[in-house]
């Protein structure tokens, strides 16, 4: 048994306690998975406030439906699936272009770490980020989710397939399309 598994409370025990209404046990689960749940939400909505709100909603829904959680899939996959579904629903409700942020995107770019001031490299990096965000917003929620879950969250194809509830082949083809689309944008920035 590893040190980590000895010091950290057992997940199934935490889930059992949370099912009986133990908020403290559920709090430990929230601490454990919050970062990744936010990451999954962010993969679809690409807006920090929306992602945080969705992540909170994910945990609340999970708490409400803990009784129906069976251990057929892992708890984390179950959580990420809720987050992805909520995020994709939101994205569809609000329309594809509602997340194209003008001032907000500029604001986030301004918060990027700046070690070389207004040098050409920094400008091109900002430009790259801006164009990438714009390109990500042009993707469908599913394509966007697949590429960000892979590249940013580092999930495997099988995990992505589980979370988005689509076949592994679909994950591969969506990833290929999204990469090609974004690569074209990267190329144009590099050349421009």
């Amino acid at each position: 048994m590893s040190k980590e598994s000895r010091s950290e409370p057992d997940e199934s025990e935490l889930i059992r306690k949370a099912k009986r209404g133990d908020g403290e046990a559920f709090g430990v689960l929230v601490e454990r998975y919050q970062r990744r749940v936010i990451g999954v939400a962010l993969a679809v909505v690409h807006n920090q406030e929306d992602a945080l709100e969705l992540a909170q909603e994910t945990f609340v829904r999970a708490y409400e439906n803990l009784g129906s959680f069976e251990s057929r899939s892992s708890f984390s996959t179950w959580l990420y699936r809720i987050a992805a579904n909520l995020a994709i629903d939101l994205r569809r409700r609000e329309g594809r272009h509602s997340f194209v942020r003008g001032e907000e995107a500029e604001g986030e770019i301004d918060r990027l770490p700046s070690s070389i001031g207004d040098s050409f490299a920094e400008l091109s990096r900002s430009e790259l980020n801006r164009r990438l965000r714009a390109a990500l917003d042009e993707l469908t929620p599913e394509h966007r989710a697949v590429i960000l879950l892979r590249e940013v969250e580092g999930l495997s194809y099988d995990e992505i397939s589980d979370i988005l509830q689509c076949p592994r082949g679909t994950v591969m083809s969506r990833l290929h399309y999204a990469r090609d689309r974004l690569r074209t944008i990267l190329k144009s920035v590099e050349q421009g």
Binding site: E151, S156, M172
Partner: protein, 180 residues
């Protein structure tokens, strides 16, 4: 060796390490000798770096507290509310029930152990002559039923019965012959 068109579709999964071992080997061999595919692979890698740089995680400070606050505000199901109040009580009741069950078990075991000895004591008592328990005497002329003689367990008493029992539905007579 596969052609560029075939390899192009596999470059992403190759970079992700998601191909079968033989496919990994095929793509690796191709990329080493094909400049265009190597450029495409590098571009995929650059894209990954750019995306990780582009998407940044928000601060999670206060996140758990906010979630728990929302959960506290949820209407609690009736079962859960009752469980909250009854859980401490149930612990005490559970302990008491265990104690009572253990006591009852001990009593049963004691009765079971003592009863055969008590029975033997009664049967071997030398001065018991006759015990008759009589309820209502039925004078309606019901015939007596002789239920039988109960022989003694020991060999020297086996010739004469120790107890003769005579019974009708309302009267029970137990006769114990005088013992020397």
């Amino acid at each position: 060796m596969p052609a560029c068109d075939q390899v192009k579709l596999l470059l992403g999964p190759f970079d992700d390490g998601e191909l079968e071992p033989h496919e990994m080997e095929d793509v690796a061999l191709h990329v080493v000798s094909c400049g265009a595919c190597k450029v495409a692979l590098d571009a995929y890698r650059s894209l990954g770096v750019a995306l990780r740089d582009c998407v940044r995680q928000p601060s999670v400070e206060g996140f758990t507290a906010a979630v728990l606050k929302r959960i506290e505000q949820l209407p609690q199901p009736l079962v859960m509310r009752w469980r909250h109040y009854l859980a401490p009580l149930a612990e005490h009741v559970g302990a008491s029930l265990s104690l009572v069950a253990a006591g009852a078990f001990a009593a049963l075991v004691t009765v079971w152990l003592v009863t055969p000895f008590a029975d033997r004591l009664v049967h071997r008592s030398p001065h018991l002559a006759q015990v008759a328990s009589e309820g209502k005497n039925d004078v309606g002329g019901r015939s007596e039923q002789t239920l039988g003689a109960i022989p003694s367990g020991s060999s020297d008493e086996s010739q004469s019965p120790m107890i003769a029992l005579s019974n009708d539905p309302t009267t029970t007579v137990i006769w114990l012959p005088n013992q020397p």
